[in-house]
Symmetry: C2
Subunit: 318 residues, 2 copies
C-alpha cells in the first residue's frame, strides 16, 4: 500500500512522512497534496492565539482531552517562534507529543516560523490538508500571538480563539490590541485566580464598547481553569455555537472560499515569478537588469511595469 493510501487510512507514520516531504518542499510533497486534495475540507479548524505567558499549551491540552471524550480526533499545528540558538522550534514535537503519545486520536506537529520557501501561511495550510485527509475531525492551529504573520494565519481558521490571563501587564497591551479584532471567542485562562472575573468583566465591557462586527457575530467570553478542569465543556459548546452561526449565515463556505482563493494567489505568485526569473537567467539578462537597477541606470518600477505576458492555464489561452 502506498504512502497516500496509508495516509488516507489515518496511518500516523505515513502522515508524519508526508508532512516532512511537504515541509522540505520535495516534489513528492506536492504530489501528495494534489492526490489528497479531494479528501480534505472536512475538518473544522480552530485557531488559538494569545500572548506569551497566557498558558495556551496547558489550556489546549485540556481542551483536547475534552474533545477526545466526545470522540473527536484532534490535530494540533503548533507554530513556534524559531530559536536561533537551538536551531529549531522552542516547543518541540516531542515534549508536546508525550502527553498524548499513546492516543491514536491526537496528532501534534510543530512548525518553526522560519525557512518556509512558500511562506508560513502556505505551509500551515499544507499541514492542515494532511491532518484533514488522515481523518482528524478538529484541527487546532496554535500560535504565540505576537506577529502579523501569526495573526494572519490564525485568522484563517473557522473559529479563532484569543487566550488571555488575569493581570497581564501594560506591556502586553500593544500585543493584545493587534489580535483583539480577530477573536470569535475570548478565553480567560487561569480562571481559578481571584482576578479572573474582573478580566472577564473588562473584556465584556470592551466588546460592548467596540463597533459591531461586519459579519454580525458577537464575540463571546469564556473563563476556564486547567488546574480545576473547569469551563471546557462550555467553551466547546461556544465553539459549536460559532460554527452553527457560520453555517446558518453562509459564511462557513464563503470564508473557506476566500481562504482557498488567497492560497491560490500565493501559489500563483511564486510560480509566475519563478518561471520568469528562471527564463531571464537562462537568457542571461537577469543579472544585467539587476546590475542596471543597482547602478540606478533603470528603476525597478519601470522594469516591472514593462512586463507583458501571454499565458495558458490548463492548455487554455488567457
Amino acid at each position: 500500500m502506498g504512502l497516500i493510501d496509508q495516509l488516507l487510512k489515518g496511518d500516523r507514520k505515513a502522515a508524519a512522512r508526508a508532512m516532512r516531504l511537504v515541509e522540505d518542499e520535495y516534489p513528492e510533497g506536492r504530489e501528495i497534496l494534489k492526490r489528497i486534495y479531494p479528501y480534505s475540507g472536512r475538518a473544522y479548524v480552530i485557531g488559538i492565539t494569545g500572548p506569551p505567558g497566557a498558558g495556551k499549551s496547558t489550556m489546549i491540552d485540556k481542551l483536547v482531552k475534552h474533545l477526545r471524550k466526545q470522540g473527536k480526533r484532534v490535530g494540533i499545528v503548533a507554530i513556534d517562534p524559531t530559536s536561533p540558538f537551538s536551531g529549531g522550534a522552542i516547543l518541540g514535537d516531542r515534549i508536546r507529543m508525550q502527553e498524548h503519545s499513546l492516543d491514536e486520536g491526537v496528532f501534534v506537529k510543530s512548525l518553526a516560523t522560519r525557512g518556509h520557501l512558500g511562506g508560513l501561511a502556505k505551509c500551515t495550510d499544507d499541514i492542515i490538508q494532511i491532518m484533514d485527509a488522515m481523518g482528524m475531525d478538529i484541527i487546532i492551529v496554535e500560535t504565540v500571538g505576537v506577529g502579523q504573520d501569526e495573526v494572519d494565519i490564525v485568522k484563517t481558521a473557522d473559529t479563532t480563539i484569543v487566550v488571555t490571563v488575569p493581570g497581564l501587564g501594560d506591556d502586553i497591551q500593544t500585543i493584545k490590541a493587534g489580535v483583539l479584532e480577530i477573536a470569535d471567542i475570548f478565553v480567560v485562562n487561569k480562571g481559578d485566580k481571584p482576578e479572573a472575573d474582573k478580566t472577564v468583566r473588562e473584556l465584556k465591557i470592551m466588546l460592548d464598547m467596540s463597533a459591531p462586527r461586519e459579519d454580525g457575530w458577537k464575540p463571546k467570553v469564556y473563563k476556564v481553569s486547567a488546574l480545576k478542569d473547569e469551563g471546557f465543556e462550555e467553551l466547546i459548546e461556544g465553539i459549536y455555537e460559532h460554527r452553527k452561526f457560520l453555517e446558518k449565515t453562509g459564511r462557513f463556505e464563503s470564508y473557506r472560499k476566500d481562504r482557498l482563493e488567497n492560497l491560490f494567489h500565493i501559489m500563483l505568485k511564486d510560480k509566475l515569478a519563478n518561471q520568469l526569473i528562471n527564463k531571464m537567467k537562462e537568457k542571461g539578462i537577469y543579472e544585467k537588469i539587476i546590475n542596471e537597477m543597482f547602478e540606478k541606470k533603470i528603476d525597478p518600477y519601470s522594469v516591472v511595469e514593462s512586463i507583458e505576458c501571454k499565458c495558458t492555464v490548463k492548455g487554455e489561452e488567457i
Copy 2:
C-alpha cells in the same frame, strides 16, 4: 516647481505628500518613486528593534539628538502595531513629531502594520527611498520586535540594533530569541539601573557561546542611559565601526543588492499574478476555476503547475 523637485530639495510638505501618495497606492506614488530612484541609495539605514517595554522610543530620541549634534539629517520610520480600536497606529506621528517639530533635520513617519497591499516591507522601503531622496543622511527604522514580518524588515537595514533592558522576564525570552541572531549591535538600555552591567555581561557570554557569524562580524554590546545621557557617543562610534566593516568586506554593496533583488521579486510577483488574474476574470474563467477547486473537481496545485507564460520585459522577449 513640481512636487518631485520640491521633494528633492528637502521640502517637508512635499515629502509628506509623496509618502501619502505612495502609502495609499496611487499611480502618482509610483511615478514619484520612479523619478526619485536615481537620487536614492545614499542614506545609511539603521534598524532598531526590541521587545515592548525596552524603552526604544526614548533611546532613539536621544540617539537622534546626538546624531543631530554631528550635523546628520535623520529620518525615522516607526512601524507601529495597528490598534483595531483606535483604527490607526498606536504611536502617532504627532506625538513623536513634537519632540523634533522645530528641527528641519528630523523627519518622522509612522507606518501601521496593516493594510499595505504590496506588503509592509515594500511600503517601508518606499518610505526609505523618499527620505533618502529628500536628503536624510541616516534613516532609522524602528519596530516592536515581536513578529516575523518586523524582524524581516529590520533585518534589511545596513546596521541592525537590538535593544534590551535589565530584568526583562522570562516571557520575553521567546520574543528575544527570534531577534537575537539579526543583531549587529546590542544596546542595553536604562544603563543607569544597577542590574545593567549584569545584563551586559550575560549578553557578552551568550555571544561568546554562540556560533561565529557567516559574515565574520562579531556583534558588539553597548550600554546607554537616556536618563543620564550616557553611552550614545560610543554607540554611534559602534555603528560607524560596523559600517566600515561592511564597506571593507564588500558586504555593504552585496547586502544592498540582495535587498534590491528581494524587492524586485515582490514587485514582480504582484504584477504577474494581478495581470493573469485580471485576464482570467475578463475571460470569465477565474470564477469557474475557483469554483471547481472549491468543489474539489480540480486541485490548485495542478492548475498552478499547468500555467505556461511567454513574457516580454522592456520589449524584449524572454
